[in-house]
Symmetry: C2
Subunit: 344 residues, 2 copies
């Protein structure tokens, strides 16, 4: 660990101890704006009010530190998901490499589409086809190798729509919310339909989220030994656990075993996680990121008149449920002063 990182951890622990002893006031009461990328308005106010209510000693909505769990979807909630999920682009790049060794792959769908690399065609692939692409490249791969490969890939991968590194396309307002929650004793989990090991490969660097706080879709893993007799965990071509829709509350239960007090998403894939979160006792917070900013990001979702049956995105039906249930709808256009950290 870097000395400055160690000192940072020590400072955080010291503050936590002082808060718990009642010798310090929470960070958000100390003047400096913890959410500088947010415009003033009801959404920002609601986030600050939730943190204050759940962490102020004596508050009727006080939540003990051990139960302060917040969950965040990743794609479309923490970073850009258009034109195609990072993980699908990663798998396509791996199929392209594989086709150098096994050229017949280029004649066979869905590998042909993957090798072609057209983002729109990749994004249009069915879920079983995405799995086929993933499985052909990951079959029997050691999990450590996958994590190393993914970390190396994400270090240079660019988003074709923005012409920027994918890692630049993290939403600054959302990392501020994560930091605010952590400064107030919450643990911030990523709960993603993406692959657990893929997301773990960069989650700490991008979001400050350690491996044990990444819940994701998991392929089956087999325990075995390498040629030298050392234990090795290898990915198998089947899905053990699908962390999307109803799978998100199930994944939360399996890995955390506690119901979140706050949950953030952006699509129908997050609906059940938000329902599950809000159904808990006491004050709970649920929010959806609405992609209504075609100038700074990409406009899609109910504001753009998508059909209500469109699954896996922010449908009109989800928007109506959010309004009916008191979930917050975060307008990128009006709630966010800036979207990305690279903006001036």
């Amino acid at each position: 660990m870097q000395p400055n990182r160690r000192a940072g951890i020590a400072r955080s622990l010291l503050l936590l101890a002082l808060f718990a002893l009642g010798l310090a006031t929470p960070a958000l009461a100390q003047g400096a704006d913890p959410l500088p990328s947010w415009n003033e308005g009801p959404t920002k106010a609601a986030i600050l009010a939730f943190v204050r209510a759940t962490t102020t000693a004596g508050s009727p909505d006080f939540v003990p530190p051990a139960d302060r769990i917040a969950t965040f979807d990743q794609d479309g909630t923490l970073w850009v998901e258009k034109p195609v999920y990072a993980e699908v682009a990663f798998a396509a790049d791996r199929v392209r490499a594989l086709a150098q060794i096994n050229p017949s792959l280029a004649d066979e769908e869905p590998f042909k589409t993957a090798i072609g690399g057209d983002p729109a065609a990749l994004a249009a692939l069915s879920y079983p086809d995405m799995n086929k692409i993933s499985f052909v490249t990951l079959d029997n791969l050691p999990v450590d190798t996958l994590r190393d490969d993914a970390a190396a890939w994400i270090a240079t991968a660019r988003n074709p729509l923005f012409g920027r590194l994918r890692t630049d396309l993290v939403y600054a307002p959302m990392t501020e919310v994560m930091a605010l929650l952590r400064a107030n004793g919450f643990r911030t989990y990523i709960v993603t339909g993406g692959g657990q090991d893929f997301v773990r490969s960069y989650a700490e660097r991008l979001y400050g989220v350690p491996p044990e706080q990444v819940v994701g879709t998991a392929d089956a893993i087999a325990f075995g030994y390498d040629a030298a007799g050392r234990p090795v965990l290898r990915l198998q071509p089947s899905v053990l656990f699908d962390d999307v829709f109803g799978g998100k509350p199930v994944g939360i239960h399996l890995v955390i075993g506690k119901r979140p007090y706050a949950a953030f998403g952006n699509s129908t894939g997050d609906r059940q996680m938000l329902e599950y979160t809000k159904a808990g006792k006491g004050l709970r917070f649920a929010a959806l990121v609405l992609h209504d900013d075609g100038a700074r990001e990409v406009a899609y979702g109910p504001a753009q008149g998508l059909p209500a049956s469109d699954v896996g995105t922010f449908t009109q039906g989800l928007y109506d449920e959010a309004k009916a249930r008191g979930w917050h709808v975060i307008s990128m256009k009006s709630d966010w002063k800036r979207v990305f950290a690279f903006e001036p």
Copy 2:
């Protein structure tokens, strides 16, 4: 949270902060014996040396706090597993209740054996039969109901061999090791072949281990809604994940995503977890509890000449592997000054 518990957490955080800042020395250097239930000897010395080496700043084996993971098998490692696993006794009691409503169960195996309740017959059930018993009582049960039922059951459940509450039969030396590790910044996970929700129902009370640090065998869970439209997670009659043998390293990877620095077990079901732990870089610690004390506990395992093919217990083969690989073998008879907290 109780005020005294809150103050306790605050004190722990404060100490952690001071350690991280280098302003305090680790607990184990402060004079008071952190392992009073252990006899002086090589095993106790090895545990203390491991903690010192991994947590002393400047040590070549120093492990950053974020990576300080220790894993513990439960049955036979943290508490008595004879004559029959607590969870099997729990399932048998539930089948007995179910037979009141559905008397025909009493005519059908393995339910007949479960209803009979003879510990030796229960212990002799095959793994598929144990699952059958579990599934018939848990089918479609909300996970919250299971946890409440299990917590209520364990509050009064007695071990027929000892005539004591099962919760009295926790090994005091092992909870001391867990406390010592936690006082030095380790997180202590339970990694059990037992059911994850069953063990979570009492793990915090018995061992100070919160739900998110219990890795266990997990049945499939379905997300749905109750009659009032509230989200509910219900257990399904199939095993999603079998957390034993090679499944232990896999479970560790899924839930933690980091390799442990220390692992404790007592049977062939823990072998792969110990191999996986020891195969990591740097100083790692592996230990097996040997049940060689027929006076204070139950004598079984290699000291008692069990056949080497006996699976799921401490075989001669496992003993030989431990010796060959430098795993520590904890003799209950000679290493433990007292076995249970109720001893004088």
